[in-house]
Amino acid sequence: MILQLQNITKQYCHRNGAVIKALSDVSASIEKGQFTAITGPSGSGKSTLLFMLGGLLRPSSGSIFFNGQPLHNAGDNALSEFRKNNVGYVMQNFSLVPYLIAEENVMVAVSLLQKDKKKQKEIARGLLAAVGLSDRMDHYPKELSSGQQQRVAIARALANNPSIILADEPTGNLDPLLASEILNLLKELNTERGITIIMVTHSPEAALYADKKILLKDGCVV
């Protein structure tokens, strides 16, 4: 068990004072090396749950453990450390830094753990080659297609050699062909490198790639 959630609730306090219950009493566990899909209708709390698993968000109540260590009461610096060392993120909207070329976008993530610039470059190039972008290293994000941008994001997610990759609708902005390319890439990382993958998705086809599904509805697991 790499990640464990116990009785998680999450409430957002909106600016207008309303309290929005995004998750209520969610318990789940994720095994090491598993490919998990989180599905459910829009607004059901999928992203909220994913951010919680990735140390971006703390629950209002309940506990989260990563390899037995508590995340729910970790401080901001501890969560940054956790993300830096263990988690890779792939988001729907590609989330690349516009003024950095593909290589530099990956290097930024590498630089958090590797200070030697030569090695940073080497690692970044290796990762981009692994996602099939050897010939686009010096392209800015706007000079890349959507599918290529998402590959750069995946290469960056691999920069810290993560044990978990969290993906929030990674194929949401892609056409079906590109989508299956990305899903295959994730599946490959899962089976060949043994990386635990948790993916939020709307699409039933995408969910087929997963070993396990968590279905959310109104903030509850069904």
Partner: protein, 406 residues
């Protein structure tokens, strides 16, 4: 890749905004540097003028008229010569070249002349020179401190005000003013008879256009004996450092010499000091305004920059940057902005001073190197102070809220 590389790449990415963000700092520093350069050179110019004059303080007996510096000592009452000793033995600083004088009208033939007894340079009592201190804000005392007997070479020589120091003078030697020599038809190497005493004419002085042209200068002690007023003098000319004067030197001297009247060469010293004071005040006011305006506008630029980069900062946080790393990233940017703003501002201000100084203030201005580190340092401080709040807000950006926005 490190924080510096990241900051640098971001700076280059948005060049147009960068320039507008830098503008306030550049202009602010330029104004300060420009004013400062002109002020420093104007202070130097004043000091040079005072140097040429040789003396700028006049000690006169009580009751002497001080309407005109050049005639104040003629026929004035007298006071003891040992007043010179009083000043020398006091703990006053900022006075030099104390030169006692005795002037009286004398008749030679049918014409009136002024006979002035002076001490040559080798008999003038000198006080030790005072210390100088340079750098920013401190006045340039150095040039005030010159006390050599040679006439001081300078482009800003005002002949009308120049009284050359006479190096040596024998008991029966005399120097004759330009007009007096004309009237007497005297020539160098000749002799004149004053009050039944033969004097050797050592030199005819060049024309100055002042009352000095009608004077005959001879040795003080000879003149005293000749006029029967021994050990008395009618004036002491003193070279005072202009800062010492502005710091109340005169009233200190009045305490030592109670029954005298002590004045400065008012129109020169005080008006120039006033101008310098005003310039210093203006540059201080500017400094404060620039601190505010520069700080606020840099802060404003940074806030806009942070707002624009919210998403990107969220990404950095997502992949594991800590809050303090985001904070450092923005402050590093502020330091870089300050550094370049300071350099460019200093160059611009110096150019303005060099070009406008001669036209507006009639003063030749040269680049002052010491202003560069000062400019860089103050620009960095302004920039960092202005960026503290935006940087703090940037560090507070939560990655999850950014990721949800689309």
């Amino acid at each position: 890749m490190n924080l510096f590389n990241l900051v640098w790449l971001e700076l280059l990415h948005r060049k147009a905004r960068l320039v507008s963000g830098l503008m306030a700092i550049i202009l602010g520093i330029a104004v300060i540097v420009g004013i400062r350069s002109v002020t420093i050179f104007s202070e130097k110019a004043v000091a040079v003028k005072l140097d040429n004059l040789g003396a700028n303080i006049l000690v006169l007996p009580q009751g002497a008229s001080t309407d005109d510096y050049y005639t104040a000592d003629i026929d004035a009452p007298t006071f003891p010569e040992n007043y010179v000793e009083r000043i020398v033995t006091s703990n006053l600083s900022g006075v030099d070249n104390l030169s006692p004088k005795l002037s009286r009208r004398v008749k030679i033939g049918n014409e009136n002349f002024v006979l002035t007894g002076i001490l040559p340079a080798n008999e003038i009592t000198a006080k030790p020179l005072w210390q100088t201190s340079g750098l920013m804000g401190a006045e340039l005392k150095a040039s005030c401190a010159t006390a050599t007997s040679e006439n001081h070479p300078s482009e800003l020589k005002d002949e009308r005000l120049t009284r050359k120091v006479i190096d040596s003078l024998d008991a029966l030697d005399c120097y004759v003013g330009f007009m007096a020599a004309k009237k007497l038809a005297a020539a160098e190497g000749g002799k004149i008879n004053i009050e039944n005493k033969e004097f050797n004419i050592v030199k005819i002085l060049p024309e100055t256009g002042t009352i000095d042209d009608g004077r005959i200068f001879a040795h003080l002690h000879t003149v005293q004996k000749l006029l029967g007023i021994e050990n008395q003098i009618s004036a002491i000319e003193i070279m005072g450092c202009c800062n010492a004067i502005s710091e109340g030197l005169l009233s200190k001297m009045r305490n030592i010499l109670p029954d005298t009247r002590i004045t400065t060469i008012g129109q020169i010293v005080s008006t120039q000091l006033e101008t310098n004071k005003m310039m210093n005040k203006i540059s201080l006011i500017f400094l404060i305004i620039i601190l505010l305006v520069g700080g606020i506008s840099i802060g404003n630029y940074m806030a806009a920059n942070v707002n624009e980069r919210k998403r990107e900062i969220g990404i950095y946080r997502m992949i594991g940057f800590s809050r303090s790393e985001i904070y450092s990233m923005l402050l590093l940017k502020a330091v870089i902005l300050g550094f370049f703003g300071g350099i460019l501002g200093c160059i611009l201000g110096t150019l303005a001073g060099v070009i406008l100084g001669p036209q507006l203030a009639g003063i030749a201005v040269q680049p002052i190197i010491i202003l560069l580190p000062f400019s860089i340092l103050s620009a960095i401080i302004i920039s960092v102070l202005g960026s503290l709040v935006p940087a703090y807000l940037a560090a507070k950006i939560e990655p999850y809220s950014i990721m949800q926005e689309e």
